[in-house]
Amino acid sequence: MNNLIILPILIPLITGVVLIFFTKNIMAQRWISAISALLTIVVSFMLANHVYRNGIQTMDLSNWEAPYGITLVSDMLSALLVLTTSIIAFAALFYSFKSIGEARERFFYYPVVNFLIVGVNGAFTTGDIFNLFVFFEVMLMSSYVLIVLGGTKIQLRESIKYILVNVISSALFVIAVAYLYSVVGTLNMAHISVRLSEIGSAGIITVIAVLFLIVFGLKGAIFPLYFWLPGSYYAPPAPVMALFGALLTKVGVYSITRTYTLFFYHDVGYTHQLLQILAVMTIIAGVIGALAYTDIKKIIIYNIIVAVGVILFGVSVLTPESLTGSIFYLIHDMNIKATLFLLIGIIIVITGTSDLEKISGLINRYPALGWTFFIATAALAGIPPLSGFAGKLMVVRSGFETENYIGAFVVLMSSLLVLFSVMRIFIRGFWGTPRAYKNEDKAPVKWLLVAPAILTAFAVLYGFGTEAIYPVISTAAETLANPEIYINAVLKE
């Protein structure tokens, strides 16, 4: 029992509720949300530290003991993800102060961002499968508002498709939970795992596993189910894109990781093979998209899909080393995707376009922006010693060790092509002859650059400090590789 667990959910929730009463006072909104985001970072850092020292922490809501009540569980993985989420949320909020525009600020932008964080942190922390659904809905509801907020034509058009896809996937989630409940008769995730290992392998469990893969795959954008993502993420402004790209898909990836390591690890022949094939296809589809477009937003959006594939490939290999690699890469990717979206947001503010053909020579007037972008792209591709390297190395190595040569090779090749796809932005956008842009002088570039620069610094530190962070991440992977640790911590047997 530890009340620290619920604070990263509770602080944004209360902030969101309070902010609704201050819609007209924008300064108050900015200050309150900044302070609460900082507070969330401090609390989630304390939580991560506590989990690292004392093992998995659980909290039974209303003192209903597991498996009867809803349990919040914070193992190393979820504590780390909550910490990363809090940092990204702060960066995105800080960036929003000067870029999101007064109209959006007046119409509940800050409360909704806070509710989004509630959903994301809740989904990472909960230990109850139906509660996961509820937190998914909290997150999705906020994302519906964020994607449509502003009411431009493209936003309205894309939000309809986004809502439709997610409504269908929510219905499938309910169906998957219904099937699972009829088989195991419980909703507590640790208890489900115990019951499933008593049942052993049965056809219905494979069906449920695939159904969960479809549900979370729709949210996490894996191979045939990513079709909605490039269009929808294209519509909202940069800070919202950063929140979506860094957090929403990763919640789907986290849920696949959690269910495929905690529930469906008995009969891995079919399900994990399927996951592996889909992960490899996801990487290929993402790379093709990233290379095909000359629109900077589209290039980064397709890179989200590539990263999802890499992480899930590590999960599907299912060795302790590959899981460590996946977690390394997951945290790196959340950080770096937020950075890149915020950086291209600045480019769009300066130039007024996201079309690479119309941008050139930016480094002449904005050297700091240029070099930050360069470091971020190098980190994204995984150039040592920056942050993407260690995770990818471990994923690839364990792929070769378990003789999944094709998958490991695709991951390896994808790094090169990813590097090419983002370096294209650097070469064509930052080099070349400088041009004059219309609203250039009004752009608050210095202010906007603070948040992505801090995140880039994190990426560099994360890369150089791999040795120091490794024990923390391997603790997280150990829990995933040995579900008994999770089960014993929750059910206290």
């Binding site: 139906f130 659904f133 509820v134 809905e137 999705l140 509801m141 519906y144 508002v145 449509v148 009411g151 034509k153 493209i154 309205l156 058009r157 894309e158 939000s159 309809i160 498709k161 809502i163 439709l164 409504v167 269908i168 929510s170 219905a171 499938l172 309910v174 169906i175 939970v177 219904a178 099937y179 409940y181 009829s182 909703l187 269009g231």
Partner: protein, 113 residues
């Protein structure tokens, strides 16, 4: 009773799929409503249908219905109600702004804006 419910759920899903494949936005929204109804009924049926007893009254109760699926569909109904309401508002606003509710014209190609 379970068989009958299965048929009902199947028909709901079938109708929902048909409606969601149509071009008109309003039909699509009605389709999502039916889809979530089907999912909720499935949740109720999967918990096991029983007659003639209240959910768990005391430890000595000889027969009782499982209260959990009921709590779950209550939650799911509330959520889908909220989402449907929001969806309708967004659809209406999109109709005002874009001047069409035909999904074929909302693809986002050149010239559609």
């Amino acid at each position: 009773m379970e068989i009958l419910m299965s048929f009902l759920i199947g028909i709901l899903f079938m109708t929902a799929t048909y409606l969601m494949l149509s071009k008109s936005l309003l039909r699509i929204i009605i389709g999502t409503g039916l889809l979530s109804h089907g999912a909720h009924l499935l949740l109720l049926t999967m918990g096991g249908l029983k007659r003639g007893a209240a959910p768990l009254l005391g430890e000595k109760a000889s027969s009782y219905a499982d209260p959990l699926p009921q709590a779950l569909i209550l939650t799911a109904i509330v959520i889908s109600f909220g989402v449907t309401a929001f969806f309708l508002v967004v659809a209406y606003r999109a109709y005002q702004e874009l001047g069409t509710d035909n999904m074929d014209r909302l693809r986002g190609k050149e010239g559609h804006e």
